[in-house]
Every structure is written in C-alpha cells, then in structure tokens.
C-alpha cells in the first residue's frame, strides 16, 4: 500500500476516540477505523477535513511512498 497514514497518532495526540473523530470530520467511526488500518484511502475533501481538525497539513497525516517494484 503506497499510502501510509499517521491518523492514529494524530488522533491520540488530540485525545479523541474514533467516534469523536468521525463526528468532527462528519464521517462514521467505521471509516476512521478503515483509514487508520490502511484499508481505505479517503477523498481529498475528507483528507483536508482531517488535517484541519488535527491542525496539521495533509502531508503530515498521509504520506505517499513509491513502491520499490515500480
């Protein structure tokens, strides 16, 4: 998976659980859980929202790493 995220760390820093994070971002707890697990890549809108909530830039939460095979 080339998209690595630090949402869990950011959320821990904020001191909120997945449900609260979901509420703040206007999304479900399940989607936050999937993003954290790396099972789902969020849309640009949601990524920007999450970055705004955490008061960081999108790149601080989501990191794109090229595959070594590519």
């Amino acid at each position: 998976m080339p998209l690595i995220n630090h949402l869990k760390e950011m959320r821990a820093r904020l001191g909120v659980n997945q449900a609260e994070m979901g509420r703040l971002a206007g999304t479900s707890r399940q989607t936050i859980s999937q993003i954290e697990r790396g099972d789902y890549s969020p849309s640009v809108t949601l990524a920007l929202k999450l970055a705004k909530i955490c008061s960081v830039s999108v790149e601080d939460i989501f990191e794109y790493k090229e595959n070594e095979n590519e």
């Binding site: 206007g26 989607t31 969020p42």
Partner: protein
C-alpha cells in the same frame, strides 16, 4: 470455461439422443417428481426450524456484543467486533430466505403434481407450507428490523426504517464515503458473479430443455435477469461517465 460447457453439452446431447437413454431420463424425471415430496416436506420443516434457531442464536450473540459497547467507548476494536457480530444475522438471513423460497416452491410443485399422495395430503402440504412460509418470512423481517435498530443505536448517523418503502434509499444516503465505497465495491463484485452465474445457468437450462423437458421458461427467466443486469449496469455507467459521480457531495 465456455469450451468445457460446450463439450459437456455436446457429449450429453449425443448420449441422450438415443431412444433408450431418453426413456431412462424420462422415467428418472417422473420418479424425482413423484417421490421428491417425501424428501422435500421434512427437509423444508427441518430447514425452517434449524435456520431460525441458528439465526436467533446469532442475533442473541450480536445483541449482547452490541449492548456491551457504546458509540463513545474508547475501545475501537470491541466496537469493530460488535459491528461484525451484529451484521451476521442479516448476512445469514439473505441466504436463508433464498433457500426457503426454493424449498417452498418445490414443496408446492410436489403437492400439486405428485401422484404418490392423496388430495387431502396435498392440501395439507400446500396450506401448511404456505402458512409456514409466511410465518418464516415474517420472523426474518422482524429479526432484520431488530438488527437494524441495534445498528442505529451503535451508529447514530444511520437512518431508515425497514417498514418505510424508501428504506434502501434512506439507508444508503446515511452512508459516508467509506461505507459507500464498500457498498459500490460489493455491488460490482455481485454484478460480475451474477453475470458468470447467468451464463452457466443458461447453458444448464439450454441442455435441460432437451434432456428433462424443462421447456423454455427457465431460459426466458435467466435471459430477463441477464438482460436487466447488463442494461442497468450500462445505463448507470453512461450516466456516471457523462455527469456527476457523486463523490463531490457535501
């Protein structure tokens, strides 16, 4: 796959084209039609009871795990597990209903056409089977509605009531982008599998119209399902390609 099916069809068709083999197949069909009532009737009763008990057990398990967590809990893993447990009765319900529909149809067919049973027994089977089917369908509806209410408690953003005619629309509109992504992915996989199933079933029904005298009705039914699948997919694909893909909502 296609080549295998065609080869099987040719071999099977050639084999049954002789008079003797056709007689054997005809008597086999008659035997199945007449005697299957002795298998189907108890099987239908056992299936209904066992599947209902199994589902109630799943519901109890799901309910217990759903009630043990609250939307504001910090234990995210427990919340995920509760969600999976709670969805199990709905997943099982779909399969149970389909199998019950098939068994009920065969039971009624047996009750009407079997020469082995008297008219009174046929009437008991027909009425009893119908009552059982309605009862079974109602219990499934109640179970699924109960699960949906529990899911709504667990995920307050979810909306919709199973009694509402627009339930599916409301339920889907309360999904966020992650859940919609899953729903659409599942829909596409279901479309792919249904297409393959239609092709296989068409081959089977094509062969069976000659071997078991099933007639053209199964072919027409499969054809309609196949056509609805392809047309609705193409129509939606064109609509989305031309216009909004709905990922810019909000």
């Amino acid at each position: 796959m296609m080549i295998i099916c065609i080869t099987v069809g040719i071999v099977f068709g050639y084999t049954v084209s002789t008079d003797d083999s056709q007689k054997v197949l005809e008597s086999l069909t008659k035997l199945i039609k007449n005697k299957s009532v002795y298998v189907i009737a108890p099987l239908y009763v056992i299936w209904s009871i066992v599947s209902l008990i199994y589902q109630l057990l799943l519901l109890r398990k799901g309910k217990r795990s759903a009630l043990s967590v609250s939307p504001d809990d910090d234990d995210d893993t427990a919340f995920d597990e509760a969600g999976i447990m709670l969805e199990a009765p709905i997943e099982v319900s779909n399969i149970i209903i389909i199998i019950s529909c098939i068994l009920f149809s065969i039971l009624i067919e047996c009750a009407v056409f079997s020469k082995e049973i008297s008219k009174n027994v046929a009437a008991v089977l027909g009425i009893g089977g119908s009552v059982m089917f309605i009862f079974f369908y109602l219990t499934q509806f109640i179970i699924v509605r109960h699960v949906i209410e529990l899911i709504k408690k667990l995920c307050p953003e979810k909306q919709g009531d199973l009694l509402d005619m627009n339930f599916q629309k409301k339920w889907l509109s309360s999904f966020d982008e992650g859940e919609k992504f899953i729903a659409y992915k599942c829909g596409f996989n279901a479309y792919k599998n249904a297409n393959t199933a239609c092709m296989i079933l068409w081959i089977i029904s094509f062969i069976s119209q000659f071997t078991f005298n099933t007639g053209i009705m199964p072919i027409i039914c499969i054809g309609i399902i196949w056509a609805v699948l392809s047309i609705s997919y193409t129509k939606e694909n064109r609509r989305l390609e031309k216009g909004k893909t709905n990922n810019t909502d909000e």
